[in-house]
């Protein structure tokens, strides 16, 4: 027990050391409470990197309000409680704004800490309506686009452009994001005249086999025009592989979470597969500035972006800095007011709109990426005909 007491004293002393770890007094400080270890790390790191790119750009151009931006960081270790601590730690380090982990569940504790301290927080790429006013508070934002918009986009686009009339919905109940996609799809589907949902099923991401679910699809006659798959890695790759191995050739739609070519080796020669993306990592984005960004990113990190989730990190610094510039102050309320005035604010990766009800995108321009012959490329662009209303998002 003697040792335990010593540990406690040591621990207390260490706590002091850490809080002294603040930045230069004159700088604007952005706190990053993101995952640098654990399984979220792979998702947080690229977005964090692109946020840093935007910060460097701003600093190079003379800074924000005439001041340089510096960054303090803390590791959330992909742990909720650790996330809350990381949030407090960067706040202790003098953060004027806090960037939190990509996923709502893992980012919320830090965002709540920022909210309690009266600071603005941005989720790196959360796509739940809760990542904002509804789940954190009025100072919280997300720079990505709601998952529901992705489902709705795929439904409307496939209906209009691919003449899809029969859909099959296969939902992975593992995480909230998946349900968001399917919810968006379900909001859109009834407004598509004479389109029909011919069946539904669920699975869990880590199911060892989805044989039974696949049999249910195969027993349909005729086969559905498209399968709306609402899933993420690794389950998504596994299901797609098993669907194709079972001889099901229907078009498969999914959310942005399965963007990227890194997993395509799982299903060699994959065809007829579509996802919405905010920008193209494949070098064929209609906006050449995106391709230039990809190159800058590659120069900095040694490899180009691996998924479109790299981009929201850039967007969040971009829109926040614009709002700060317009407000002329770092005062949270004033910056939030400026952010809420943004309507279709152009960014490198599509327009952004915030208002006093939604700090997220309930409508958004998406590029449509098609995988054919095992290779992805951009084939189209789509913006849903009307924004998804808040009530539908909160259902």
């Amino acid at each position: 027990m003697k040792t335990t007491k010593k540990l406690a004293i040591l621990a207390a002393a260490g706590g002091l050391l850490l809080s002294a770890n603040a930045a230069m007094a004159d700088d604007i400080v952005i706190g990053m409470a993101t995952a640098q270890s654990g399984w979220m790390q792979a998702y947080d790191a690229p977005a964090r990197e692109s946020a840093l790119i935007r910060i460097d750009e701003i600093n190079a151009a003379g800074g924000l309000l005439g001041r340089q931006i510096s960054v303090v960081e803390a590791d959330t270790k992909t742990d909720r409680a650790e996330g809350a601590r990381a949030g407090l730690e960067v706040l202790d380090g003098g953060a004027d704004m806090v960037v939190v982990s990509c996923d709502y569940d893992f980012g919320a504790p830090a965002a709540l800490a920022a909210q309690a301290a009266g600071k603005i927080s941005f989720f790196l790429c959360a796509e739940s309506i809760k990542a904002g006013i509804q789940g954190v508070g009025p100072f919280s934002f997300s720079a990505s686009v709601l998952a529901a918009v992705q489902g709705a986009t795929m439904a409307e686009w496939a209906y209009e452009k691919k003449n899809v009339r029969s859909f099959y919905v296969l939902l992975d109940t593992w995480i909230e994001y998946n349900k968001g996609i399917c919810d968006g799809f379900d909001w859109m589907a009834p407004s598509l005249a004479d389109a029909e949902v011919v069946g539904r099923d669920t699975f869990v991401n880590d199911d060892a086999s989805v044989a039974a679910q696949i049999t249910r699809i195969r027993n349909l006659d005729p086969q559905p025009d498209a399968i709306m798959l609402c899933s993420v890695m690794p389950g998504a790759a596994s299901v797609i592989k098993q669907l194709r191995a079972a001889g099901i050739t229907s078009m498969i739609l999914n959310g942005s979470a399965v963007d990227g070519s890194y997993w395509l080796d799982s299903v060699p020669g994959l065809d007829n597969f579509y996802v919405p993306v905010q920008g193209s990592i494949y070098g064929d984005d209609p906006n050449p500035a995106v391709t230039a960004f990809n190159e800058a990113y590659a120069e900095r990190t040694g490899a180009g972006p691996s998924t479109q989730y790299t981009y929201p990190g850039y967007v969040l610094i971009d829109v926040w800095a614009k709002a700060v510039e317009r407000a002329g102050t770092l005062d949270s309320a004033a910056v939030v007011a400026e952010l809420e005035k943004m309507v279709d604010e152009p960014t490198l990766f599509g327009p952004r709109t915030f208002n006093s009800e939604i700090h997220h995108q309930n409508r958004g321009r998406y590029l449509i990426s098609e995988v054919s012959g095992g290779a992805p490329h951009i084939v189209d662009e789509w913006t849903i005909s009307e924004p998804i209303p808040l009530e539908a998002l909160l259902k």
């Binding site: 027990m1 050391l17 850490l18 409680a81 601590r85 730690e89 569940d105 504790p109 809760k130 909230e176």
Partner: protein, 347 residues
């Protein structure tokens, strides 16, 4: 042989010392710790409460339970049901009964009521499951956890399924959690020295002899299961009010295994082991995390790569158990006399 003290005097010092240890940690934290360090200490205290809850059942019955994170889950969600502002609940959790969704209880009310709910569920499932012994009981508790997790992760209208429930007042701090951990220790202590606790431990050590002498093992296990569920439920409430967000994933395998590890490393049959196991392992984890961030030692910065902490803590636990298979304390308790540790005769 030294002169044995009376059993009561010998054991009353145990909870006093354990609580005193926690109080000292809390005071040091209040005096010197930063905000984020206070969060760390709060989390450790909540974990102490949970692991002491495990001790009440596992330590006294000898049956390993994988299911107690389920009670933490029940307690935490109940806390959310009782304390989230009614406005939010009507939108996010439309399936809640009117009386619950209209209510907004103060912390203490939510604490007691939610812990009782966990105990009630334990009573109902315990009536069925406590007939089992040994590994069959362990598997049944695991199955219980899987059922609870599946239900909470999918019951859209009542638990918001996999979506986090937000809006829980974040009132658990160092002192609140200290109160919770101390209450847990006292409950565990008074249970252990009670007639029930003694009977169950007798049954743990000598199954047949105990039942021959009239101990109803089923009943005793059930009592201990319900009390431990109450304490674990309470730790869940503290956790919910600490983080402000609950999600079913937080109460599944991760917390089950890490808590069981702390418990076993401390010493499965000892209340002191349960408390010290949490404190020591948490302290090691914290120190390793500082090393990951980089620590200055005489001008030299020592920095470990991220992720080493998890690997190291795994190795540390294995090494401790290889050298002390019964855990750091085995069956012993910390006592005032016979410093540092002395065999406890109450067992």
């Amino acid at each position: 042989m030294k002169q044995p003290q009376s059993v009561l005097a010998k054991t009353i010092s145990t909870p006093v010392i354990l609580i005193a240890l926690l109080v000292v940690i809390a005071i040091l934290t209040a005096l010197f710790g930063s905000g984020s360090f206070a969060r760390t200490v709060t989390e450790i205290f909540i974990r102490v409460a949970f692991v002491v809850g495990l001790y009440i059942f596992i330590g006294n019955s000898g049956v390993i339970s994988f299911g107690h994170a389920g009670f933490m889950c029940i307690g935490a969600y109940a806390a959310a049901w009782f304390t989230v502002p009614p406005m939010m609940k009507k939108v996010l959790l439309p399936g809640l009964p009117e009386i619950v969704s209209n209510a907004q209880l103060p912390f203490l009310g939510s604490l007691v009521l939610s812990s009782f709910l966990a105990a009630l569920v334990a009573l109902l499932v315990g009536l069925i499951m406590m007939r089992l012994a040994g590994i069959a009981a362990s598997i049944a508790t695991f199955a219980f956890l899987a059922v609870i997790n599946t239900v909470y992760a999918n019951w859209e209208s009542v638990t918001a399924a996999t979506s986090s429930v937000v809006g829980i007042p974040m009132v658990t701090g160092v002192w609140t959690s200290l109160f919770g951990a101390s209450a847990a220790i006292l409950i565990a202590y008074f249970y252990s020295i009670s007639r029930w606790g003694l009977a169950l431990r007798a049954a743990r050590d000598e199954d047949i002899a105990a039942s021959a002498s009239g101990v109803d093992i089923y009943r005793q296990r059930l009592i201990s299961f319900v009390i431990s569920a109450f304490v674990c439920g309470m730790s869940g409430v503290l956790y919910a009010h600490y983080l402000g967000v609950v999600n079913p994933d937080a109460f599944y395998l991760g917390i089950t295994f890490i808590s069981l590890s702390m418990f076993v490393v401390g010493g499965m049959s000892s209340l002191s082991g349960a408390v010290l196991g949490v404190v020591i392992i948490s302290a090691i984890i914290q120190i390793l995390r500082w090393f990951e961030k980089g620590i200055d030692i005489g001008g030299l910065t020592l920095e470990l790569p991220n992720g080493i902490q998890e690997i190291a803590i795994g190795v540390v636990m294995i090494v401790i158990l290889v050298f002390r298979p019964a855990g750091l304390l085995g069956k012993r308790e910390v006592l005032l006399k016979g410093w540092p540790f002395k065999r406890r005769t109450a067992d």
